[in-house]
């Protein structure tokens, strides 16, 4: 593969919203920068609005060393580091305005409740949802998908019946696969799987063929956490809705790198994690279309999700409260909102253009190393790169890189069915964040060359 394009970079170049910003990065030809380009100069390439040196200064973690070397953090698809704004929002919550939410009448309770509901409104705006009531706070993408699998898939009114079908794709993370497998086993439903083509893109013709009048749920990731493939969610939503099914989108890898608009995507559910969008761990959100959430059954019971409780029976609160039993992760929601504000202020388009440039450079540099093979050649890709070094196991690659201060992920990336289709036990994955530099791409390249020497 020669020149992967970042989806949003491509969109920006094609005149989508935000294209007014000079998209120098996205249009750049993959080339070789002179090694040792200063970070500031490297940052200038993202366009005048994107000040990489300033961005890096916002992340205290980036100042630390690993094994006596500067940290090069290229494991952003696993989790991202946090800007000071998020750290301060969390400690500020505990320091100045913490109480339980939705319960007390006292001043602090109202302040905390207000802050959390404003956070919900921030998430609504980030996803382009119509109403804050369509945003359910959860622990993360995994819990969001499980919530749909229980509240909708097993709901009193909406639940699957024997012979119904669920359609997933072979590139799903286990968290968008196993919940559906369990649901299908329990309900005697059928799980069908959309295959990939040779480039690592979804076979949309097969998707069309696999949909049947019995298909109730289609679950697809927007960005593959192994291949980086960006799936055409809006197109898929059209196909799915024509057959009367609902579309669940795993946005874990997309939310940090693409502008997400659930109205434009046309999906019914959208899940993402806070910790991957530079927010805290243990918080995330599920968007659900209002009519669907209203039909769904509660999945966890406890305080805060009820209307009235009698020993003979209980009626439940309307969404989103119905799906938020118990005292929630209050500081997490507030930290998440701070992270989304941070991203929005930088501009998702600028971030996508910059990450597209990093990806393009890394792809060009790594694929030029003899014995290195990139995994996945989708035409639209975002943020991450899986690769193999001939004759060297990915775990050994990652260990040598770690010795040089470079954090990457090696393994099956919680996508074993995909690895089986690719006929690979594991890959090494470098994944980029908004603070990575072209110098770090050069460091990665040099380190992979070092791996070749060690195991020659």
């Amino acid at each position: 593969m020669s020149s992967p394009r970042s989806a949003t970079a491509a969109a920006a170049a094609a005149g989508m919203p935000g294209a007014s910003r000079p998209a120098k990065g996205g249009a750049a030809t993959p080339g070789r920068a002179a090694p040792g380009t200063p970070a500031g100069a490297a940052g200038a390439g993202a366009g005048p609005a994107y000040d990489l040196a300033r961005v890096r200064a916002d992340f205290p973690m980036l100042a630390r060393t690993v094994h006596g070397r500067p940290l090069v953090y290229l494991d952003n698809a696993a989790t991202a580091q946090k800007p000071r704004a998020v750290l301060e929002a969390i400690s500020g919550c505990y320091r100045d305005s913490y109480a339980n939410v939705g319960r007390g009448v006292h001043e602090l309770a109202q302040v905390a409740t207000g802050a959390r509901e404003r956070a919900r409104e921030t998430v609504r705006g980030f996803l382009g949802a119509a109403a804050a009531g369509e945003i359910v706070f959860v622990r993360g993408t995994t819990e969001a998908i499980n919530l749909v699998a229980y509240g909708y898939g097993r709901g009193r009114r909406t639940g699957l019946k024997a012979g119904d079908e669920v359609l997933i794709t072979v590139m799903e993370h286990h968290s968008n696969l196993v919940p559906w497998q369990l649901l299908c086993e329990e309900r005697d439903a059928v799980l069908r799987v959309v295959p990939l083509d040779r480039r690592g893109e979804l076979d949309l013709a097969a998707l069309g063929r696999l949909l049947s009048p019995r298909t109730r749920i289609v679950a697809v990731t927007q960005v593959s956490n192994v291949l980086g493939t960006v799936n055409p969610v809006a197109e898929i939503a059209d196909i799915v809705h024509r057959r009367g099914a609902v579309l669940v989108v795993d946005g874990a890898q997309a939310a940090p790198r693409l502008t997400v608009d659930v109205a434009l995507l046309g999906c019914d559910f959208y899940a993402f994690s806070g910790h991957k969008v530079y927010g805290p761990s243990g918080i995330g959100a599920l968007y659900g279309r209002a009519e669907l959430l209203a039909e769904m059954s509660p999945w966890q019971a406890g305080g805060g999700m009820i209307e009235t409780v009698r020993l003979t029976g209980t009626t439940f609160a309307p969404p989103p409260d119905r799906f938020e039993a118990g005292t929630p992760n209050i500081e997490g929601a507030i930290g998440l909102a701070a992270a989304l504000d941070y991203l929005t202020t930088l501009g998702l388009n600028a971030v996508a253009v910059w990450e597209g440039r990093l990806l393009e450079r890394a792809a060009a540099r790594l694929s030029a190393i003899p014995g290195v093979r990139l995994v996945g050649e989708a035409r639209e890709r975002a943020g991450l790169l899986s690769f193999l070094v001939e004759g060297v196991h990915p775990h050994d690659v990652a260990t040598v890189l770690d010795g040089l201060g470079i954090a990457v992920r090696a393994g099956h990336h919680c996508a074993q069915p995909l690895m089986e289709v690719l006929d690979l036990a594991a890959t090494t994955r470098a994944s980029f964040g908004l603070y990575n530099t072209l110098d770090e791409v050069e460091a990665l390249t040099a380190a992979v060359e070092r791996v070749r020497e060690v195991f020659a």
Binding site: R69, P394, D396, L404, A425, A426, E453, V454
Partner: protein
């Protein structure tokens, strides 16, 4: 490899790199009467151990599978170390090998021979599982009752 960055030089010493490049006793074992497959769910590594045990003694031992340099070299060196050993000696060797990987340096067991090359793994707790994968498979192979000679060997992927 130059420079001891992050303990890597000790982890990937010459002996380990050599066994990774040229694994000994690699392949199926006709006439084997004990088998087991070890999986490392973390990285997808998989190793199959085949043994011919006669009168409480390991007459022959071979392995197959895919794995990282640490697990491949460990399996290879395990087969060399155990060939001809009694089952009691094998267990005792594993106990000392395990101590080498997990106990402080002062507790180094003597007489580990070439297996002492794995001392560097101690600095990489995430890789202890790689170094012990073949040994754990060995234990399951010996724990199961002897199988008749030459059943179909457990399916594992070819070594790349």
């Amino acid at each position: 490899m130059s420079g001891g960055f992050g303990g890597l030089q000790e982890l990937y010493g010459e002996v380990i790199l050599d066994h990774n490049r040229h694994p000994r006793n690699f392949g199926p074992l006709p006439g084997a009467n004990h088998h087991a497959v070890g999986d490392n769910p973390l990285c997808g590594d998989r190793v199959a151990i085949h043994l011919r045990v006669d009168d409480e003694r390991i007459e022959e031992i071979r392995f197959e599978g895919v794995g990282c340099a640490i697990s491949t070299a460990s399996a290879s060196m395990m087969t060399e170390a155990l060939s001809g050993k009694s089952l009691a000696e094998a267990q005792e060797l594993f106990d000392r090998f395990h101590a080498l990987l997990t106990k402080p340096a002062a507790a180094d067991a003597p007489d580990l021979g070439k297996l002492a090359a794995f001392a560097g793994v101690r600095e990489f707790p995430m890789r202890v599982k790689c170094a012990t994968l073949a040994w754990h498979a060995l234990q399951s192979a010996l724990a199961a009752p002897a199988a008749p000679p030459a059943p179909p060997p457990p399916k594992v992927a070819e070594r790349a």
